[in-house]
């Protein structure tokens, strides 16, 4: 119980004092997760919609694989990205290992299947409802794709939030490719892992509370916006 009390005190102290290190870690965590989500959406939304709309050989198998990839083990992804970006790897020349960019790449790989698989389901259901109407109005599957993504935007927010949840809570991959370097690649989750390994459980828990609050705040804000917009458009 003492640990919890100390954790809350530690979290409040860090927040009230606007600890510069903490702010840097929070800022980098948000930056990495949000940029990763942006690129995962850029790939995952049209990919999921395309699998839902276009008929091609192996489509069902592709959908099954996509669903399976939602459970990609982060450490495996971290290891693969590490091998690709390490000096001896095919992309070693870019010198990206142990940079926020490497962490973003790893998170994009982890989050894209989640967004794509959930998008596929949403768009498939929407297509059932819209198909006749859109085809009658002159659309084809290609022109229907952006229309369905736009009309499914309220449901797709859930997919994006699921992706954000995965990205912000992820530690294994970013630890491997980021290295948890202070002032360079340290984010909330790797900082928590570090404090645990140092035995400072109160500080680790305090950071955990801040991470949780951050996640709840982002989700709450997005849901509030979604609800307001959904009420307007029904």
């Amino acid at each position: 119980m003492d640990d919890f009390g100390d954790a809350i005190r530690a979290a409040l102290n860090l927040l009230v004092s606007l600890d510069a290190d903490l702010m840097e870690i929070v800022g980098l965590s948000l930056y990495v997760s949000l940029v990763a989500i942006f690129f995962a959406c850029l790939i995952g939304l049209p990919l999921g919609a395309a699998i839902a709309l276009f008929k091609f050989p192996g489509r069902k198998l592709f959908a099954v694989i996509l669903n399976a990839l939602m459970g990609l083990p982060p450490v495996v992804v971290g290891l693969i990205v590490y091998l690709l970006l390490s000096r001896s790897g095919p992309f070693g020349v870019f010198g990206l290992l142990y940079t926020p960019t490497a962490m973003i790449i790893a998170q994009v790989i982890l989050v894209t299947p989640i967004i794509a698989a959930l998008t596929r389901q949403v768009i498939e259901d929407l297509w059932l409802e819209y198909r006749d109407q859109l085809l009658s109005l002159g659309a084809n599957t290609t022109t229907a794709l952006p229309t369905l993504l736009w009309d499914g935007r309220f449901s797709l927010i859930t997919a994006v939030l699921a992706g954000f949840g995965r990205a912000s809570a992820e530690v294994g991959a970013v630890m491997i490719v980021g290295g948890n370097i202070d002032h360079v690649t340290r984010v909330m989750t790797t900082a928590i892992a570090l404090e645990v390994s140092k035995g400072d459980l109160a500080l680790a828990l305090g950071l955990g509370i801040i991470l949780l609050s951050l996640s709840v705040s982002v989700n709450g804000a997005v849901y509030a916006i979604k609800d307001a917009a959904q009420r307007r458009h029904a």
Binding site: E129, D132, Q133, L134, G138, T147, F154, H233, A234
Partner: protein
């Protein structure tokens, strides 16, 4: 610039459509010329909606052919429109719902704006132009669906029970819209359950029963003296009219 030939006549030759191993449209033959409205009536399951979807090209016949006078399939597709019994409104404003298909058809921006304004005025939806389409009443949504179809300037407009479950006022408003669209030169081909509506709108009636076209006649003649016994019973509004039809047939045989 070349102008495409008129879309009509539309010819259905020996059209058959099956689903789930059941023959739903059976050897259907008919021809639609440009001119006054044609109304298809018949009981539930007669194949009225299927008939419209086959004409509109949303379904392909298993046997037989659906051919337009215009041999260019793309041009034929672009010169017709359809309003569904439960039209889908896109999650955007009323005016954006009209704008959308015009953009799909690559209509220029100025023309899109002009046609959208005209369609809104025609449907009396001008004051609701910025409202989200999905929060409109069912009657208003149906008017919007007809206006959206009208904005495409179709040569042929298919309407699938456009006033089903509307109150009399909304039904009147939609019928007025249909008349306005017909007055502007579009051929109306619609289905309805409502015999009074068929009398008000139709110039000719097609009576469909279990996928077969049993009778086609000018509206006045059809309602005065239907030739087919099933049509007679249907027009009389007899609740077990199909059984009476069978009995009459047996008596005659």
């Amino acid at each position: 610039m070349t102008t495409s030939p008129p879309l009509l006549p539309l010819q259905l030759s020996d059209v058959v459509f099956e689903a789930g191993g059941k023959r739903l449209i059976k050897d259907l033959n008919c021809r639609f010329e440009a001119g006054p409205p044609s109304v298809i009536i018949g009981p539930n399951g007669a194949g009225k909606s299927l008939f419209l979807k086959l004409c509109h090209g949303m379904l392909a016949p298993m046997q037989g052919q659906v051919t337009w006078n215009d041999p260019d399939a793309v041009s034929a597709r672009l010169n017709q429109a359809m309003v569904f019994q439960r039209p889908v409104m896109l999650r955007r404003s009323v005016s954006a719902n009209i704008h959308y298909p015009l953009k799909l058809r690559k209509v220029g921006k100025a023309e899109r704006v002009r046609r959208t304004e005209e369609a809104l005025a025609l449907a009396g939806l001008g004051r609701l132009r910025d409202h989200p389409a999905r929060v409109l009443s069912f009657g208003e949504q149906q008017k919007l669906a007809v206006a959206r179809a009208w904005a495409l300037k179709p040569q042929v407009l298919f309407l699938d029970e456009p006033t089903a479950s509307l109150d009399p006022a909304a039904t009147h408003a939609v019928e007025e819209l249909i008349r306005a669209i017909h007055a502007q030169g579009a051929k109306i081909i619609m289905t309805t359950h409502d015999l009074s509506q068929a009398k008000r709108i139709a110039d000719e009636i097609l009576f469909l029963f279990r996928g077969r076209l049993l009778e086609r006649a000018p509206a006045a003649q059809f309602f005065e003296q239907p030739q087919n016994d099933l049509a007679q019973a249907f027009v009389k509004g007899e609740l077990l009219w199909w059984k009476l039809g069978k009995a009459n047939r047996k008596r005659r045989d």
